[in-house]
């Protein structure tokens, strides 16, 4: 009796309520659980270990403001899939951070507070075809630090996780990393080089090179003397640019810098044409470039850096020659995607790098080190004499014999570095020097050195076009972003190295694309031919018409002429029609395929089901009738 009472209670409204609360509670308990299977082929929704490491380090809330225009006409259709994947990734970040990352999705409608907020955060509006602007950007804030991704370009989709992780890591670290620059060139501007100023006298105080001012947005950039004094310990990245005539003592300083974990970026050059101060007019009135290397260090790392220039006929372009005529210069390399490592984070999005007269980094890396080429020539390349390459490119082309070798133009060298100075400091025991830390013989952990076979690639002439009126520098190529990528990678969070580039979410209809390009190839000639024919006919017609007007009304067109006029007009109409049809044919195959598939998908299965249903019904009826 008692149990039936209990049952009545349980199965009453109260019971329903109880079950409801229990189930909601169960869902709540499991809501922080992150037990899941990522069944996508490329593990699209699984963050890389580097990103997870960064997110795990968060100790307080970080606000992510995701500015995205919403609504039918305010975001290009093509970007909607991409927006979805950004959403997903942000959700991943939040979940992985244990909800410490707070996401505010903001729709910057025109003339709204939200739009002002986007502008204030530095998120940039992008033009729509109708003249309005749409927003797709992210600001990450952990007061007082803020990192902004002004526009999430879909071209950088693969790097989205890396970019976001970098932004989070930027707002986590309190002080800006210090980047040192060591160079005999006036890279840091005139003010940093007073001796030179005095010598030059009349020259105005020059400004730093554009790449320095760009780096100053994110880093403290500091000049480092090339005199052999130890590199300051707070410098995280050291850029050595065209170290011509470098002393062993200075190389020792670099050696020790690398061994204690500093990140070194080297730009050596067999022919640096930007080294103006060194250039003294010779009797012929010509300026020659100078060369640089790090002989001691390169030897220890297993590099050979010949004083010759890489000429590549696939990467050359025509440049203004001495007499102003365009002329191909095989030593001036315009490196495109086929000479750029697409798998490395620093170069994956780089497509066009200019290297004026670069050298080749040859040899095999020393034991314990691994060299990964970042930039390389094609096989249509050859090592040539620098001066000839600069002054007589025609001769280089005449004598060109492709070596069939792919030369490394820039290399990422990683591993456990050993000293290049096993006998200690080459400047001897300097008793006056303060007793510093003992000389290191070997690095305690793995490190990375980036070596570029060219220094001119940093010079303003070959990186930006400066609009003097508006004081804006427009990038000419990807040189600046490449350098920025490398510095960021080197200066940034060590975990960022592990943040990989993601696979693209997009998987297009390859079959349709192939058909379209096939059709385009097939019809291209025909369209060109018809276009030409149309122009010819136009010409003939206008000739007759001119004749007609020239002899105004005095002479009526002869019957033959009239006939010709009629013929041409008819032909013209015919050609126009054909051209229209041909253009339509371009998509015909695709359209008919799409139509076929559409109808098969919509109708085939229902028809089949109906047939089966009717057949079964008939069979059943017969069986019934037979009984």
């Amino acid at each position: 009796m008692k149990s039936s009472k209990l049952q009545t209670l349980l199965f009453s409204a109260a019971g329903v309520l109880f079950v409801f609360i229990a189930l909601v509670g169960l869902n709540l308990i499991f809501s922080p659980a992150r037990l899941r299977l990522d069944l996508t082929g490329d593990k699209l929704h699984t963050l890389s270990p580097g990103t997870r490491e960064i997110l795990r380090r968060l100790d307080g809330p970080v606000e992510v403001r995701f500015y995205v225009s919403q609504g039918k006409d305010r975001m290009p259709q093509a970007l909607k899939t991409y927006v979805q994947s950004v959403d997903d990734l942000l959700a991943e970040f939040r979940a992985e951070s244990g909800n410490k990352i707070e996401i505010r999705k903001i729709d910057p409608e025109p003339d709204s507070e939200a739009e002002d907020s986007a502008r204030l955060d530095g998120v940039q509006g992008q033009p729509l075809p109708n003249g309005e602007e749409f927003y797709l950007g992210i600001a990450v804030e952990n007061p007082p630090d803020k990192a902004v991704l002004p526009f999430l370009a879909p071209q950088r989709e693969k790097l989205l996780e890396y970019d976001l992780a970098r932004a989070v890591s930027q707002v986590l670290s309190t002080n800006r990393p210090v980047v040192g620059v060591m160079s005999p060139l006036p890279v840091m501007g005139g003010a940093m080089n007073p001796m030179m100023m005095m010598q030059m006298g009349r020259q105005q105080q020059s400004e730093p090179w554009v790449f320095v001012s760009e780096l100053r947005r994110d880093f403290d950039v500091r000049s480092v003397p090339m005199d052999g004094t130890p590199v300051d310990s707070d410098i995280r990245v050291l850029m050595v640019i065209h170290p011509r005539d470098i002393s062993d003592a200075a190389q020792f300083a670099l050696d020790q810098f690398v061994l204690r974990g500093g990140k070194l970026m080297v730009f050596v050059d067999p022919l640096c044409i930007s080294d103006v101060q060194r250039q003294q007019p010779n009797p012929m009135g010509l300026n020659f470039g100078t060369s640089s290397s790090l002989p001691k260090l390169f030897q220890a790392w297993g590099f050979d850096f010949p004083a010759q220039v890489v000429a590549d006929t696939q990467f050359m372009r025509e440049l203004g020659g001495r007499d102003g005529r365009p002329q191909p210069v095989p030593g001036f390399l315009f490196v495109n995607a086929s000479g750029i490592d697409q798998s490395s984070v620093v170069t994956a999005q780089v497509d066009d790098v200019w290297m004026p007269f670069p050298g080749a980094l040859q040899g095999t890396a020393a034991a314990g080190l691994k060299a990964e080429p970042l930039l390389f020539s094609t096989k249509d390349s050859q090592l040539v004499d620098g001066i000839t390459a600069q002054l007589n490119p025609e001769k280089v082309l005449q004598d060109f014999r492709p070596s069939g070798v792919v030369y490394n133009l820039a290399v990422r060298l990683g591993g456990r570095f050993k000293t290049a100075f096993p006998d200690g400091n080459p400047s001897g025991s300097d008793t006056n020097a303060p007793a510093g830390p003992a000389d290191l013989k070997e690095a305690s952990s793995d490190n990375v050195v980036y070596v570029f076979g060219d220094a001119d690639m940093l010079a303003n002439n070959f990186t930006v076009q400066i609009n003097q009126m508006m004081r804006i520098a427009m990038p000419l190529n990807a040189n600046l972003s490449l350098v920025q990528n490398v510095v960021e990678q080197a200066a940034g969070d060590a975990s960022l190295v592990g943040a990989r580039s993601r696979a693209s979410v997009r998987r297009p209809f390859t079959v349709v694309r192939e058909m379209e390009s096939r059709a385009r190839n097939a019809y291209q000639n025909k369209i060109a031919e018809l276009d030409r024919k149309l122009q010819d006919l136009q010409g003939e017609l206008s000739k007759i018409q001119v004749r007609q007007e020239g002899e105004t009304a005095r002479v009526i067109l002869s019957p033959e002429q009239q006939q010709a006029l009629k013929n041409y007009t008819a032909q013209q109409a015919e050609t126009r029609k054909e051209l229209r049809n041909t253009r339509r044919n371009l998509r015909q195959d695709v359209d008919s395929l799409e139509n076929r598939l559409k109808w098969v998908n919509i109708a085939a299965m229902p028809v089949l089901v109906s047939v089966v249903g009717i057949a079964l019904a008939v069979v059943r009826r017969r069986r019934m009738a037979a009984r």
Partner: protein, 248 residues
């Protein structure tokens, strides 16, 4: 235990065979397939998207099921009540929950079969491009679970009334709420006047965010738990209603 499972299976089989003895099942499947094809290829701009995935197909399911699933399930108990076979069924030597589960499983399997017959869209996608197969599997899994959640709601409303039309309408209304609570345009509107926690709590009752994970290729234990909870709750409520009827 195996005895009760066998009872569930007996009920389910009897029910499922019953479907195919009438033309209604075929009509339902044909309409289901026609609507799916039409929405995917006409309204979903499958070709215009040019993406080798099932988004144009799956995105309609919460809306298609809104009407199709109640239509399939509205008669489950209402019909028994109207014809008066309910008492008969309940006096059979099986527990009420076994009958409820059996009928539910039968109807669910029937909808799953209809869904299975949409496989030409998978073949088409694989022919046109190189889709992510894992993502397609999870998409279908999510769709089946979504249909299960709707169906459990319909089973519940069906037990509440002897009128199939009322059962259908009630079920559509409840399922509609399950969509809207987490549908982005609605939550976006709510954000303007309701506090964040309220919006997210309400949204967590919706099928939409839980279905989204499956569409992306992720099987999350929380999404499984959600659909499981909806089904459990509705079937439990059904048993309460039926018990009340028997007591009356």
């Amino acid at each position: 235990m195996s005895e009760s499972l066998r009872n569930v299976w007996t009920i389910a089989k009897r029910e499922l065979v019953g479907y195919f003895n009438s033309p209604v099942a075929y009509v339902f499947i044909v309409i289901f397939l026609l609507l799916n094809g039409f929405f995917t290829f006409m309204l979903g701009n499958y070709f215009l998207r040019g993406e080798a995935n099932l988004n144009a197909f799956l995105m309609w399911h919460p809306w298609l099921y809104l009407f199709l699933v109640p239509a399939a399930g509205m008669r489950l108990w209402a019909e028994e009540r109207r014809v008066g076979t309910l008492e008969l069924l309940l006096t059979m030597p099986i527990a009420a929950w076994q009958a409820i589960l059996g009928k539910f499983v039968a109807c669910w399997a029937f909808i799953a079969l209809a869904l299975f017959l949409t496989f030409p869209v998978v073949i088409t996608t694989m022919y046109l491009g190189d889709p992510d197969v894992g993502m397609m599997w999870t998409g279908y899994l999510g769709s089946v679970l979504l249909a299960g959640a709707y169906l459990s709601v319909t089973v519940m409303t069906s037990a509440m009334t002897r009128n199939q039309v009322i059962s259908f309408i009630l079920s559509v209304v409840i399922c509609f709420f399950l969509i809207l609570a987490g549908w982005e345009p609605v939550t976006d509107l709510m954000v303007r006047w309701a506090p964040e926690w309220l919006v997210s709590t309400v949204a967590s009752f919706s099928v939409m965010p839980h279905f989204a994970g499956f569409q992306r290729g992720v099987v999350d234990i929380r999404d499984l738990l959600f659909f499981g909870s909806v089904i459990t709750f509705c079937l439990f409520a059904t048993s309460v209603v039926l018990r009340g009827l028997r007591a009356a």
